[in-house]
Point group: C2
Chain length 335, copies 2
């Protein structure tokens, strides 16, 4: 397995990204290869010694040179078109040309999705790729799909997301027969838009899916099911509201606690640390672009070494289990 | 002003609802009237003595008898059709027949909206009513509209929500020239669905509105603007995700803190109390059904005496300022 990592993307690039990538060498098998995509000089200055040591110890690591960087402020589609020698475009091109089996980046989400959708070959039967993310829940994590690749999907797309996400959750998290719900404004049958009603009908009729019905936003933290499908507009808003709200609540709590004096604040710190870890994206191996060839993982922009290492682990699992082959087989059966 | 209050709706009905209603008498003027809608026997058993005392002191309070109650589990449209003698249907009918100027309920949201939309006369120029709710933010509160009345709006409806919510925020919270944003998956012009792009164009062209552009879910707690418009599907999901997430975070925090021993937990309790108050719906006077005759406020299901009293205050302010007349004037100018 050849795993390409965008060394230049994310708030902690290149230092912590390279650290996580090289930490992940311990997870790889002899035939695996790690490809660090980015400016060769920068990468060597940051991690040259570790790369040389890893190579000497038999690890296969190489650098794919790219002179440009797509920043968080770049407009996605313009950046993909304009920065042809950016680490993101180079990385996705590697996969397109058959030079990488898995892609990992903590860079500009919009640019990554645009590159994936525009440049990568879709899986047979997957009409539109979807972004699948894990949200923390009472039972560990719920997979939400689509979190923003496809803002105006058809019901058939939501149905395909249900199939793909179920296979992924089963493989990566070991959930037998994952439960699936459709996000809606209420649980009653008559609620919602034609899109969610039609998607519900398609998913419900499929005996291979473990459908539980409509689920509400309020219940996501309670883990109403293992997979929640929704349109990419709503899914993206949900993901960002969850992030913004968690951040705001922790921020306010810290401010309130500071007012109680340093001793009290000091005692609360580890408690908050444990809490935040549960709401921490680094644990979940990143968002997945479901429905394209290979394994394409988007790590949170603030992700550091641990997030990158967990993403490599997820990519290895997904690759080993051959989820894409299973998805194509299952989608062919639907058509 | 005649203010009708659903005495039977909400988790704390009838006791705390009646308490809040009678507390609110202190906010009223001599010509105002309070109408308590619900089962006469229950209301008199709970609050007969206070009602008698209030009447003796010159307060105008009367009971509108209703034998049925729509519960939280009732299916909204069926309940409105089936329970013709419920407190909700009786209360909305009062407004419809000109017997009440403001309506307040903590009952079944779906049933309240259905009753409002199906039974009340829309304001001239307001094609579809929208639910406007306040979400806590860094500057106090952001008004989100629509939070679920209209799950498949046209761009013109979002434009009307922007106009109506701006006038409401200006009047009730005293914000001069409130800023308005459209909720989207990114702030860039090319992002999003045709609906949000078209709504943006309509709002932007209107020199009477203070448009700031697209806003993201992540930024809501930072108060990116005073009014955020969105379709009722997304808005309802956002509202419920915010509720569910706040609840889950506080719950987890309390559990973590309990593990640190009773002394520490005891010290944190008032801190959490202050925090929760900031995220507390009772402070905001309820959600408003914008675009119908009168003032129709939905208090949170868990709302108690304080929430009801605050809703009465909001209704008084809205009524006094003649917001509906101003809305109709403004909407007539658009058409």
């Amino acid at each position: 397995m050849r795993i390409a990592i965008d060394a230049m993307g994310g708030d902690q690039a290149p230092g912590k990204i390279l650290e996580g990538a090289l930490d992940a060498l311990s997870l790889l098998e002899p035939q695996d290869e790690l490809i660090l995509v980015g400016n060769r000089d920068v990468i060597e200055a940051q991690a040259g010694a570790r790369i040389a040591a890893a190579s000497a110890a038999g690890g296969r690591v190489r650098i794919e040179h790219a002179t440009q960087v797509i920043t968080m402020d770049d407009s996605p589609v313009e950046a993909i078109r304009g920065k042809r020698d950016s680490s993101i475009v180079r990385m996705v091109k590697l996969a397109k040309d058959g030079g990488a089996d898995a892609l990992i980046s903590a860079g500009n989400t919009g640019a990554l999705v645009a590159a994936g959708v525009l440049m990568l070959k879709p899986l047979a039967g997957a009409e539109r790729p979807g972004i699948a993310v894990f949200l923390p829940s009472a039972k560990g994590a719920v997979m939400l799909c689509d979190a923003g690749a496809n803002v105006q999907p058809k019901a058939a797309h939501l149905y395909q997301y249900a199939v793909m996400a179920s296979l992924y959750v089963k493989a990566v998290r070991g959930v037998e027969n994952p439960t699936v719900g459709v996000l809606n404004v209420g649980t009653e049958e008559e609620k919602g838009t034609p899109l969610v009603k039609e998607a519900k009908d398609l998913i419900q009729k499929d005996a291979g899916l473990n459908f539980v019905g409509f689920v509400e936003g309020r219940d996501i933290p309670k883990h109403p099911c293992d997979v929640i499908v929704t349109d990419g507009f709503t899914g993206n808003v949900v993901l960002k509201v969850v992030e913004g709200w968690s951040e705001a609540l922790f921020h306010n709590l810290q401010r309130e606690v500071m007012g109680e004096g340093p001793e009290f604040a000091g005692k609360l710190k580890p408690v908050l640390g444990r809490m935040m870890k549960r709401y921490d994206h680094e644990e979940y191996g990143g968002a997945l672009l479901l429905g394209v060839q290979g394994t394409f993982l988007k790590v949170h922009g603030s992700g550091g070494a641990r997030a990158i290492k967990n993403a490599v682990a997820a990519a290895k699992t997904a690759g080993k289990l051959g989820i894409n082959a299973e998805i194509e087989k299952r989608l062919a059966g639907m058509a």
